[in-house]
């Protein structure tokens, strides 16, 4: 086979004694190969399971699917309604104070966004949205952008042109209402191309982070959020907890703990606080700080006994020395 002749040499075929980084990695690959070769017992176990395949009652399957569809419809309606309310309020209300946060929209991501969001703990009903709310239709130019890109939350706001709001609105609509992250990213690409120094570029960056997470490209989302500072004004509690969790996933626990600490400095008894306690415990476990992890887990369970991570936290506590 000619293709085999021209293949590069496998690292796993090299002798470890020959030295070199690649030979050493190759030796590790060989050990992984040995450890992952199926044993007869494992094959027998698989055959047993195969002979007794799991079955779900059709009614339950139907109910489960119906629940998912209903949740999607409700979350879409909720997202659109909240966005419409938001834009209506912004258009009719007097100019808000510079530091006023945008109203909360209890929208949940759609489609693959749910997968990405699920990696983060599920948000509680009282939790503020991570990302700015989406306009339901092409919005009128907002009276003032919520994002002072010229530096500092007290800096004068720059009113973006209608076209800029419209392009960004398209991105949000694709993401929130249509659940189409790829289309949202395309709209954001267009936004970046046309408004490289736009007044809403921070919102665009956060929207891109959300779209990337919806596409399960969480690693790419982190750098977008990592650049946000307190001065940016958009580093809300909800954005910060999301960023902390992304740091933790990327094994950047020092950065993650810094953000978790900041979130917990505010409050520990809301949804974001629960996520922060849980995430910080995870980082502390990874760092071998079992005592401090235990404290966080116990606090989490005391404040969120029915929280999404309560079962996992209890199991983790049981396994701690």
């Amino acid at each position: 086979m000619s293709a085999r002749i021209t293949d590069p040499e496998r690292w796993s075929d090299r002798l470890e004694d020959g030295g070199g980084l690649e030979a050493s990695v190759g030796a590790t690959f060989r050990r992984v190969r040995e450890a992952t070769s199926p044993t007869e017992d494992a094959l027998e176990g698989a055959a047993r399971r195969w002979r007794e395949p799991r079955r779900r009652a059709p009614v339950l399957v139907f109910a489960w699917r119906a629940a998912i569809v209903a949740a999607l419809i409700l979350s879409t309606a909720g997202g659109v309604g909240a966005a419409a309310y938001y834009w209506h309020r912004r258009a009719s209300a007097p100019r808000p104070a510079p530091s006023a946060p945008p109203p909360a929209a209890p929208a949940k991501p759609h489609g693959r966004a749910r997968t990405a969001a699920a990696l983060l703990p599920p948000a509680g009903p009282a939790e503020a949205p991570v990302f700015p709310p989406a306009p339901a239709e092409a919005p009128p130019p907002p009276p003032a952008p919520p994002w002072p890109h010229t530096g500092g939350r007290h800096a004068p706001r720059v009113v973006p042109p209608a076209e800029e709001s419209e392009v960004l609105g398209t991105a949000f609509r694709q993401l929130r209402s249509n659940g189409d992250a790829a289309a949202a990213i395309r709209a954001l690409d267009e936004y970046d191309r046309r408004f490289p120094a736009g007044a809403l570029r921070a919102e665009a960056r956060i929207a891109r982070a959300e779209a990337l997470m919806a596409e399960d490209r969480r690693r790419e989302a982190l750098p977008l959020l990592a650049g946000l500072t307190d001065e940016d004004g958009e580093l809300t509690r909800a954005v910060r907890i999301t960023r902390a969790e992304l740091y933790a996933e990327a094994d950047r626990c020092a950065d993650a703990v810094r953000d978790f600490d900041r979130v917990l400095a505010g409050s520990a008894d809301d949804a974001a606080g629960g996520r922060a306690l849980y995430g910080r415990a995870s980082c502390r476990l990874q760092a071998g700080e079992a005592v401090r992890a235990r404290t966080d887990l116990e606090t989490y369970l005391a404040l969120h006994p029915e929280g999404a991570f309560a079962p996992a936290a209890r199991r983790a506590l049981d396994s701690l020395p």
């Binding site: 690292w11 075929d13 992984v32 992952t36 199926p38 395949p53 399960d216 094994d251």
Partner: protein, 197 residues
């Protein structure tokens, strides 16, 4: 040198017969369960239950193999089904991995061929570390690197399995190796810093 796993090249059924003839999934299971389980263990790593994947793949085969058009080898069909199931399983596992079960604990449950407990623990950690680095690679690169280095397939065989050109597979492999070394280096640096603290 380890003999690469041969791929079955003959289709399970002739294309014309595929739609009507009953599919003997039990025979398929007997012939290919070992391959599927090995792919599941290697693609999934320590966080994925290979037996679960095997069961799911053959359940899918039971439902969908009738629509198999016979243009590709059945092995290819099974591999792609396995890869999809593994990907879904890995996504699910990420939910649970943080606290409920550490990678090290999961790795310790992998079949390790009867070493002593301390050896098993050490090996489990090593495997866990390898997969932690592999998980930082893009999915295509991760898959190609595993198939080449751990599964022992040639780039031509990988190209057939994943449905890509050989040249493309080689590019992925080249990038995967470079990225793996880079991520490994980063990982070692992080450990050194932790120890220094």
């Amino acid at each position: 040198m380890r003999r690469p796993v041969p791929l079955a090249r003959a289709p399970l059924l002739a294309p014309d017969a595929a739609r009507d003839a009953p599919v003997d999934v039990a025979a398929l299971f007997r012939a290919h369960a070992r391959d599927v389980m090995r792919w599941a263990a290697r693609l999934g790593g320590p966080d994925v239950d290979a037996e679960d994947v095997v069961q799911e793949v053959f359940l899918v085969a039971n439902r969908r193999l009738r629509t198999f058009d016979g243009r590709a080898a059945v092995t290819t069909w099974l591999f792609r089904a396995t890869a999809k199931v593994v990907l879904a399983a890995r996504r699910k596992q990420r939910l649970r991995r943080w606290l409920s079960r550490t990678p090290e604990a999961a790795a310790a449950t992998m079949s390790a061929g009867g070493p002593t407990p301390s050896e098993a623990l050490e090996r489990g950690r090593e495997i866990s570390d390898v997969y932690r680095i592999l998980d930082r690679l893009p999915e295509t690169q991760r898959r190609v690197l595993i198939l080449f280095e751990i599964e022992g397939l040639s780039t031509q065989e990988i190209a057939e399995l994943v449905g890509a050109k050989i040249a493309t597979v080689r590019v992925w492999l080249f990038r995967a190796r470079a990225r793996f070394l880079e991520e490994r280096e980063r990982s070692l640096d992080a450990v050194s810093k932790e120890v220094a603290r």
